[in-house]
Amino acid sequence: MATKRRVLGTALAVGALAVTAGCGGDDGGGSDGGDGGDGAAGGEVEVFTWWADGSEKAGLDALVKVFQEEHPDFEFVNGAVAGGAGSDAKNVLASRLQTNDPPDTFQAHAGAELSDYIADGQVEDLSGMYEEEGWTEAFPESLLDRLTVDGKIYSVPSNIHRANVVWANPAVLEEAGIDPSATYDSLDAWIADLEKLDAAGKIPLSVAMDWTQVHLLETVLLADLGAEAYNGLWDGSTDWSSAEVTDALNDYATLLEFTNEDRQSLDWPDATQLVIDGEAGFNVMGDWAVAAFEEQDKVFGTDFTTFPVPGTDGVFDFLADSFTLPVGAPNPDGTKAWLSTVAGPEGQAAFNAAKGSIPANTEADTADFGEYQQTAIESYANDEIVSSLAHGAAAPISWLTDITAAVGKFGSDGDVASFQEGLVAAAEKNAG
């Protein structure tokens, strides 16, 4: 009976995979279906991600190489589902978890994004493994704090990204009479320079579709409220209806006026490309953008520069990808082997060198990482760390969805008052 249900579950999940991912799920989904039917612990480890191309795929490949060296007994099975910036993968994953057919491990953003899975009892507590493997020493205290829910840790981070980064094109800035090496203490100082760019006929600040606007909003909130009050937005100690938040929203509205009008048509690489091509002066994006510059042979310091979003200097707005042990994973030993590679110094070094992020494990060797990555590693070690909203670290998915809807609405009607009402309503609905 149990086997029958599993087979049915697998069939349904593979069906869902095929429908959602089209041909993308062929290699991973197909072989998994066969394995799931047998039910034998043959040493296969199905790793479910949405890393299907670009630097993400390169990072996964590098990680798999280390995994196969460290754990030759286990066989890696790629369960990647492409598309929709992970939303397709999350839907497939949800249906698999519901039919009791979890992969051996799945990718999720570290932090609040996991709270749904934890509440539904779909992921195992990994605190014991953290003690055994000595990860409590290897990962920084501040990161462990962000992963801990009610004294337990449910995921293993593979990398760290920084969200509050401004990418600038020095040539465009000079042309508009702005000192490219200038630093800004506050958003107001920055806005003065955005005006100069506007007068010079350039796009002062490039931005793309809704989630990148949420990303921008998050850094503006962080700049105006400060790290402590920003953190308070997520635990209820900062009032969303306060005058401080209103000021921040007004600043956000001002910044939005300096952006490209076709923002809704672009995704983040297009917005970053405007800076690379010299059409825009600044762009706020996470540090995965460094790969876009480096792929086009742009040199850090001459062709592009970076600095923390004005007003957020000394704060590291963090997000991380992490892996879990789902309840009922077919091959928990395999999962543990995978997690130990993910957390280990070799795995972290290989993965992050390829993906452009920085290791969460402080023991990883980062000597040959790129110049930008070195600055991020330094900031991560010294700065105050806060959790990113747009990337699932600060608030549960449901809350983020409501905030994204409010940001999208504001992008079309520009009404600050109703924007704030929307954010307050989202907080009331989700924080309670």
């Binding site: 939303s87 519901q98 490209n260 449901s398 969805t401």
Partner: protein, 296 residues
């Protein structure tokens, strides 16, 4: 008895599989969907109790949902009127004997062979809302030919942005409506034309009293086919504007957002509402077809 069984059993056995499949996968699923919408299943976990129509009340109190219903209405009106007008005009021109009919028929029908997702990718570029120096797509074209005043914000317009999404839909379906009308025109016997002419009918009178009445069933079918496609619009919006864009929000995209975040009760409720909206269009059509067939 035995003869009766023998006469109806084989046909019944033949249709039985499809009856079962339709029963389970269409009506069974609809029932499950409606059932889900009445529960408190607002997260990934299982439902704990029935909450009646709470979710529906919440939806109709939600500005965004009302906005998306209005969007759906605007889209449907523009789409149906657009395809019918253009489709009829093309069919009329071809019927009048425009040169190269075979060629034009293929050209007009061809867009239908392209999926909404694929054409959406192209129209996403054509309908780019950047103006002036950075204009691309249609806005660029307007600038090049000196019609700058036609440049506009397309699907990012706060109220009528959704109508821009109807443009690619019209482009794809107008050819199909043309084919329907052309078949309709060709199906009218030549004798009727001649009889009308002999009776001294003017060109307008010929159309008004002889041809249009004959085309009425065709027009109704076209409205139903185009209309229900319009109510289901999803892929085109996902390809052009993305799922979270506010100005092009319709119930189907909202359903996807709610489903993705795990609010199963709410997405099921939106699905049920969509089904009812489609039923409003389809049921009268089915009733009228049934009556016509019975009268025949």
């Amino acid at each position: 008895m035995n003869r009766g069984l023998r006469s109806w059993a084989p046909p019944f056995l033949l249709v039985l599989p499809s009856l079962v499949v339709v029963g389970v996968f269409v009506y069974g699923m609809i029932a499950i969907n409606v059932n889900t919408s009445l529960t408190d299943r607002r997260g990934r976990g299982p439902a704990t109790q029935y909450v009646g129509f709470d979710v529906y009340r919440e939806l109709f109190a939600d500005d965004t949902f009302i906005y998306s219903l209005q969007n759906l209405l605007i889209y449907t009106v523009v789409f149906i009127v657009g395809t019918l007008l253009i489709g009829f005009m093309w069919a009329w021109l071809l019927e009048r004997g425009v040169w190269g009919e075979g060629f034009f028929r293929a050209v007009y029908l061809f867009p239908m062979a392209v999926s909404f997702i694929a054409s959406g990718v192209v129209w996403r570029w054509l309908l780019n809302n950047a103006q002036g120096d950075r204009a691309s797509g249609l806005n660029r074209l307007f600038e090049v030919v000196g019609l700058d005043f036609l440049q506009n914000s397309w699907w990012t317009h706060p109220r009528f942005g959704i109508a821009a999404i109807a443009l690619p839909a019209i482009w794809q379906l107008a050819g199909y409506v043309m084919a329907l009308f052309l078949a309709g025109f060709r199906g009218i016997p030549r004798e009727l034309h001649e009889a009308a002419r002999i009776d001294g009918a003017s060109e307008w009178q010929l159309y008004r009293h002889v041809l249009f009445p004959q085309l009425r069933p065709i027009a109704l079918s076209a409205i139903i086919i185009v209309g229900h496609m319009s109510l289901k619009v999803f892929d085109l919006i996902m390809a052009i504007a993305g799922q979270t864009n506010h100005t092009t929000q319709v119930p189907a995209t909202q359903m996807w957002i709610e489903f993705t975040r795990g609010d199963y009760a709410k997405s099921a409720a939106i699905g049920t509402i969509l089904l009812l909206v489609v039923a409003v269009l389809i049921v009268p059509y089915l009733v009228s077809t049934y009556r016509q067939e019975r009268n025949r």
